[in-house]
C-alpha cells in the first residue's frame, strides 16, 4: 500500500483541540468534522488539501484530548498518511484503530518541507521526498499492530 501527495507541514505539539476544536464535537459525522479540520492553526488547510495528501509534523503530534474525532477529521479530509517524529499515545492508538496510516520518523519530520511531493510505502516504511530527492525509513510497526492495520481497524480484527 502506498500514499503519494503534497505535504502539509506543522511543528511540535499539534494538539487535538486544534485538529478539531471542541465546538464542533456536537457532531460525529466525518464530513462535518473534516470541514473544520486544523482551522484554528491553519484556516486554509480545508481549502488546500487534496485526496491523498500527506501531513507531516514534529514531536508529540495529536497530544491532548482522546477525541477520535481528530484522526477521523484528518482521514475524512483526504489525508493519506501522517508522518511525525513522535505521536501522543492516544492519537497513535486511535489512528491505528480507525485505519488512518501513520508513521514515526524523526528524520522525515525534520527534513520534509511544506508543499513537497512525498511518496510513502507502508510495507517497507520507505518515505521518499520526490521534491528534494531525499529518502527516509520509518520504524516498522510491531506484528501485533500490523495485524490490526491489515484487518482495517480494531473492530474488524476482533471478529
Amino acid at each position: 500500500m502506498n500514499a503519494k501527495g503534497k505535504v502539509h507541514k506543522y511543528l511540535d505539539n499539534v494538539d487535538t483541540d486544534v485538529i478539531i476544536p471542541a465546538r464542533y464535537l456536537n457532531s460525529s459525522e466525518p464530513s462535518e468534522l473534516a470541514a473544520h479540520c486544523m482551522e484554528d492553526i491553519d484556516k486554509d488547510f480545508v481549502n488546500n488539501v487534496e485526496q491523498g495528501d500527506i501531513m507531516v509534523a514534529r514531536n508529540n503530534f495529536g497530544c491532548g484530548s482522546s477525541r477520535e474525532h481528530a484522526p477521523i477529521a484528518i482521514k475524512a479530509s483526504g489525508i493519506g498518511c501522517v508522518i511525525a517524529a513522535t505521536f501522543a499515545r492516544i492519537f497513535y492508538r486511535n489512528a491505528i484503530n480507525i485505519g488512518l496510516p501513520i508513521m514515526e520518523c524523526p528524520e522525515a519530520a525534520e527534513n520534509i518541507n511544506d508543499g513537497d511531493e512525498v511518496e510513502v510505502d507502508f510495507d517497507t516504511g520507505i518515505i521518499k521526498d520526490i521534491t528534494t530527492g531525499k529518502e527516509f525509513k520509518a520504524e516498522p510497526f510491531p506484528e501485533f499492530i500490523k495485524e490490526i492495520i491489515n484487518k482495517n481497524g480494531l473492530m474488524n480484527s476482533l471478529n
Binding site: 456536537n26 484554528d40 491532548g64
Partner: protein
Amino acid sequence: MGMTMTQKILADHAGLESVKAGQLIKAKLDMVLGNDVTTPVAIKEFKAAGFDKVFDKDKVSIVLDHFTPNKDIKSAEHCKMCREFAGDKDVTNFYDVGEMGVEHALLPEKGLVAPGEVIIGADSHTCTYGAVGAFSTGVGSTDMAAGMATGEAWFKVPSALKFNLTGKPAKWISGKDVILHIIGMIGVDGALYKSMEFGGDGLKYLSIDDRLTMANMAIEAGGKNGIFEVDDVTKAYLDERVDREYKIYTADSDAQYDAVYDIDLSALKPTVAFPHLPENTKTIDEVGEVKLDQCVIGSCTNGRLEDLEKAAEIFKGKHVAKNVRAIIIPATQKIYREAMKEGLFDIFMDAGCVISTPTCGPCLGGHMGILAKGERAISTSNRNFVGRMGHPESEVYLASPVVAAASAIKGYICGPDEI
C-alpha cells in the same frame, strides 16, 4: 528484573508472571468508561461490528458530562443515543443529568475505581484514577467499543518515571502546583508513552483530592498513566466508598525507572501555566501583570470539595474585580450539595461569583463560559491550548483554586498572599 507498580498490575491482568517495558499484552478490564462526546462514536463502532451486548453491565460507565445539560440540538441527539444504548444494554453505571457529575470526579466518589484495577476510558483524563492506585488510561472511542464488547484491551507495557516527593508543602500549595511544576520541568511530552509513579515521604501531606488533581494531569506530560502508592490516606478514602475486595500493588525494590526525580514539596511556590501549553509554567513571583476577564473554578482537575473550600477561604468577605466573570462549577451533585451545606455558596455569591450545575462546559470550550477574541481567563482546568476555551485568539492560564480565586478578586493574576 523487578517491575514497577504499573507493570505488576498489567502483568496480573494479562495473566502473566511478569512483563517488561515495550511488551505488547492483552489485559482484562475492570471498568470501561465513556462520555457524551466519545460514547456516540463508540456506539456506532460497537453496532457496526455486530455486537449486541456489553461484556459486563456492571463494568461499563457512561457519564453525560461534557455538553450537558444539553447545550444544543446536536448534543441532545448524542445524549439521547447514549441514553438509549445504556437502557438497551442495561448499563448499571449510567449517569444522566440529575445524577451525573464530571466523570473523573464521579467515578472515584461512587467507589467505581479501586487500587490494582485496570480501567480504560474514552477520555484522556481517565488517568485520574491512578490517585487511588489503579492503572487507568485514556483511549479513543474504538477502544471503548472493543472494551465494552470483549472486556479486554491491548497495551504496550510502559516504562516509568519515578517522582519521589519529600517535604511538607507550604499553606497554599496544592496538588495543582506540584503537577504544574513537574510538567514545567519535564515538558508536555516528557512522559510520552510512560507511567508517572508518585511516592515518597511527602505523600502523606497530599490529600486524595490533591492526588486526583496530579494523576489527572499525567496526560499533560504525555504520560500513559499517573499512579500513586496506596497509603493510609488512600485507605481512609476507600473505606467510605468501596466495599469489594481490591489488591494493593507496590513496585519491586529493584524496579527499573527511565529517570527518578526528587521533588521537595516545601520548596514549591504557587505555579501558573501560561498559554498555550501546560509546560509554560511560571511561579507566582514571575508572572508579571496579566489582566483577566474570566475565572473558572471547576473541572475534573479541580472541581472537588476541597478545591471549593480553599477557593471560599480566599473569596470570603471579598468581591471579584469589576469586569471579571467568576464561574464556580462543583464537579458532582454530592460536591454541590456539600458545598451548599457548608455555606460556601453564600461566600461565592456574596463575592459576585456564579455557581453552575456540574458540567465539563467551559474547560473544553463547550459552553457555560466561552471566551471572546482577545479575552483572558484563569482556570483551574488542565489545558490551555489555542482556542481551548473559545476564540482561537483567547488565552487560558492554568492555576490552583486559591490562585484563581485571588486573581478573580484582584482582576490580574496573583497569589493568595496578596489577598
